[in-house]
């Protein structure tokens, strides 16, 4: 294998693989990236759950493949002088990197030990295209609510479902739940739904950052393949049953409070400073026309702030984890006002941007 490539483009391409490369070192080959030279050059990395392959334009002198340690290789390429770099495989899996007057030989591993890139037609799943910005928005509005608790695998990913021409993402950690619906032309998500792992979505989100255009999603039996212009990412689906989320979404709420979003967010940020570190609990007291946000802890002190709201229902007091609220306020669709739907102090609250029904956030209270 031998090819020459622009150092700048190559550095960028290698950067994409860094998040996936196995840190735990269970299989040495997973610490490496696979370089394949054919018509162009591709770089592949995997942790067996997520596979990523990035294609780059290059001058290929000798087709072939090789693997090199991902981190060392990236560190090296990043430090090379701008201009062209030549990479060739040598005997005993050594890989030589030549740029200007520097010459580096890296220890590699046999390319045929590298795990195969899963084939996309697995499960002959449907494929459909969607705008990457829309995809990014759906990820951003759900993935933050996903559980980070490894003992609850079925909650550690975003549930993807929907109907013909519409796509739904649901993320939950058992305390709050974020649900977003978007029309996507030609979308054919599996009716029974699939669970996309948190880490895979985070990598995907990194890939599409700052891009525009379309992404193609192909849903197989065990994997989802996402194809962008020059990158393909495959993630293994989480095997598990997503909880019956529809059942916990209140069909109607008793009280509706309409709050200016920025006022609420800044009040929460100030008041939660004195909330206990463990629970981060804040108290919502709604009375006619007014919401009082307060918190106190024996260790830090107490705080309260009044926010003007439109509300004319009964008085109600309910506790929430402030982080669960600031999390969602940061990703709510644009719009100056937030609607908070409440039932009582032990039933789920529903938060959404006023006049936007595509995004709903359900949050369970905290006992006061």
């Amino acid at each position: 294998m031998e090819f020459s490539i622009d150092r700048g483009e190559f550095t960028q391409a290698l950067a994409l693989t860094q998040g996936i490369v196995e840190r735990r070192n269970t299989m040495p080959i997973l610490a490496n990236v696979l370089l394949e030279a054919g018509e162009d050059v591709s770089i592949a990395a995997t942790d067996l759950e997520i596979h990523i392959k990035r294609r780059c334009g290059a001058k290929v002198a000798q087709p072939g493949s090789a693997t090199v340690p991902a981190r060392k290789f990236y560190e090296l390429v990043r430090e090379l002088r701008p201009g062209e770099v030549t990479i060739r495989s040598l005997e005993n899996h050594f890989v030589e990197v030549v740029s200007g007057r520097s010459r580096v030989r890296l220890v590699g591993l046999p390319a045929d030990e590298f795990p195969l890139f899963p084939q996309s037609d697995q499960g002959s799943g449907d494929s459909f295209g969607m705008d990457v910005e829309l995809l990014a928005g759906m990820i951003d509005r759900t993935v933050f609510a996903v559980s980070t608790d490894d003992t609850r695998a079925h909650l550690s990913g975003v549930f993807l479902t929907g109907g013909s021409g519409s796509l739904r993402f649901v993320g939950t950690d058992g305390h709050r739940l974020a649900l977003v619906d978007q029309p996507v032309k030609g979308a054919k998500p599996p009716a029974k739904g699939i669970i996309l792992p948190r880490k895979g979505l985070a990598e995907l989100r990194r890939l599409i950052e700052g891009r525009d255009g379309n992404a193609t999603l192909r849903i197989g039996a065990n994997v989802v393949r996402v194809e962008l212009a020059d990158v393909a990412l495959i993630m293994r689906l989480i095997d598990g049953e997503f909880p019956n989320y529809e059942q916990v979404i209140p069909s109607s709420v008793k009280f509706r409070v309409s709050v200016p979003k920025d006022d609420l967010l800044s009040a929460l940020k100030r008041v939660s400073v004195v909330a206990s570190d463990r629970s981060r609990g804040v108290r919502f007291q709604v009375t006619s026309g007014q919401l009082t946000v307060s918190a106190s802890s024996p260790d830090f002190g107490e705080a309260s702030e009044e926010v003007e709201v439109s509300y004319d229902g009964d008085d109600l007091t309910v506790g929430f984890n402030s982080r669960y609220l600031t999390d969602v306020l940061a990703v709510l669709p644009d719009g100056p006002r937030v609607e908070i739907g409440l039932i009582d102090d032990v039933s789920p609250g529903v938060i959404r941007s006023e006049n936007d029904e595509t995004y709903n956030y359900i949050v369970m209270p905290m006992r006061l």
Partner: protein, 405 residues
């Protein structure tokens, strides 16, 4: 420096065996051994008659049988002992709010704060405690009194049977001095050997080292040896863990079957958590492998633990996490013993600030309450949650259920 603390260590004499002898007059005066049956069982308690033959607790039952063939072997009745334990506990509570139970039959009682209300000298309080326990239960307790927990425990132990021994603050070093180092908390076989190699044989030898010459790795032991241990009596609500375990009659390699048993243990642990009004934030799984250790009759144990996002008293949650640890596949199979422990215990009524769950309807709580009522009336054998319980019966548990850790 005077700590002024008065700590009692109360330890029932041959508890299980004494309960049996009290309730069955024909056993009085005879050697009685309570524990798992041979070949796998272990002695939980031996009456003083049996101890004369060299039988002691934690000894394999098969060995006890050889030492004392005429002993009466009983499987034990944990339910009855548990009931008795609560009666004893009620007596302890009369003497102080600061009671730290160590097991069913043993507790630290810090009477420092209640001295004035109780009146009398520490020794008189100890005597009254013994009398009250006998009055209420017709059982005998030995009591050690000292300003330090470890010393109180050693004192009760040395005073047995039917003992009462006070080690006053200025007598602690003299009391500990001649005792072997193995009496110190935290000195196991390995440390003991290491200390011996340094030429130390007694607690006094260690305590005699001048402060500035104590090697850093011995500091903690040296503090104990001088009787300066400042550990407080930790009342019940902060008891560190609730555990249930069993030794199988035959080694078990089937993970599904182990998970069934884990589920039962988890339910039993959860029931005790609810009874005491506490929740646990850490789930610990313990297995004993078939790998023999150098010491005869000992096997290598492994434990794995996980921290819960929210502390719980729900058996299904404890079981789910413990089974997950089991299924992770990094524990050796087959196993001789499996146990589930809830740690990170705190009071459940600190539910203030409890984050409610979306998918756990309040009904779940009601279900647990109903399970508790049934278990109270018919015993915990009467009820198993959900599917898979049939296997559990086949697990033929030897009745070696260890409580309280």
């Amino acid at each position: 420096m005077s700590s002024g603390r008065v700590i009692l260590h109360a330890d029932m004499d041959a508890f299980y065996a004494s309960v049996e002898q009290r309730d069955r007059p024909e056993l009085r005066g005879r050697p009685v051994v309570v524990g798992g049956s041979p070949p796998r069982g272990v002695v939980s308690a031996a009456s003083y008659e049996a101890r004369r033959y060299g039988v002691h607790s934690a000894m394999p039952s098969i060995q006890a049988q050889k030492l004392c063939p005429e002993a009466v072997f009983l499987p034990g009745d944990m339910k009855r002992y548990g009931r008795e334990s609560r009666r004893i506990r009620d007596v302890f509570d009369e003497f102080s709010p600061d009671v730290e139970p160590l097991s069913l039959d043993e507790a630290f009682i810090d009477v420092t704060r209640s001295m004035r209300a109780l009146g009398g000298t520490p020794l008189e309080i100890g005597r009254r405690l013994k009398a009250r326990v006998r009055e209420q239960t017709d059982l005998v307790v030995s009591v050690g009194i000292a300003p330090v927990k470890m010393v109180a425990k050693i004192a009760s132990d040395l005073s047995k049977p039917d003992g009462l021994l006070e080690v006053p603050e200025d007598g602690v070093r003299e009391f500990l001095g001649p005792l072997p180092l193995s009496r110190l908390w935290g000195v196991g076989a390995v440390t003991f050997e290491r200390l011996q190699r340094r030429g130390l044989a007694t607690i006094g030898d260690l305590a005699a080292i001048e402060e500035h010459r104590v090697p850093p790795e011995l500091e903690a032991l040296w503090t104990l040896a001088r009787g300066l241990d400042a550990r407080h009596v930790e009342p019940d609500r902060d008891a560190r863990s609730y555990g249930e375990e069993n030794t199988f009659a035959e080694d078990v390699a089937d993970v599904e079957r182990l998970c069934d048993v884990i589920g039962q243990h988890a339910e039993a642990v959860a029931r005790r958590l609810r009874r005491d009004g506490v929740v646990g934030g850490v789930v610990r799984l313990k297995v004993k492998s078939t790998e023999k250790l150098a010491q005869p009759g000992k096997y290598r144990s492994y434990s794995r633990q996980a921290t819960l996002p929210t502390p719980t008293d729900d058996g299904a949650t404890l079981a789910r996490v413990a089974c997950l640890l089991m299924r992770r596949g990094d524990l050796p199979l087959p196993v001789r013993l499996v146990g589930v422990t809830a740690a990170g215990i705190r009071s459940a009524d600190r539910a203030r600030g409890e984050q409610l769950s979306i998918f756990v309807p309040p009904r779940h709580r009601e279900l647990n309450a109903a399970l508790d009522r049934i278990a109270d009336r018919f015993g915990s054998e009467a009820i198993h949650r959900g599917a898979g319980a049939s296997n559990a019966r086949k697990a033929s548990l030897t009745s070696q259920i260890k409580r309280g850790e």
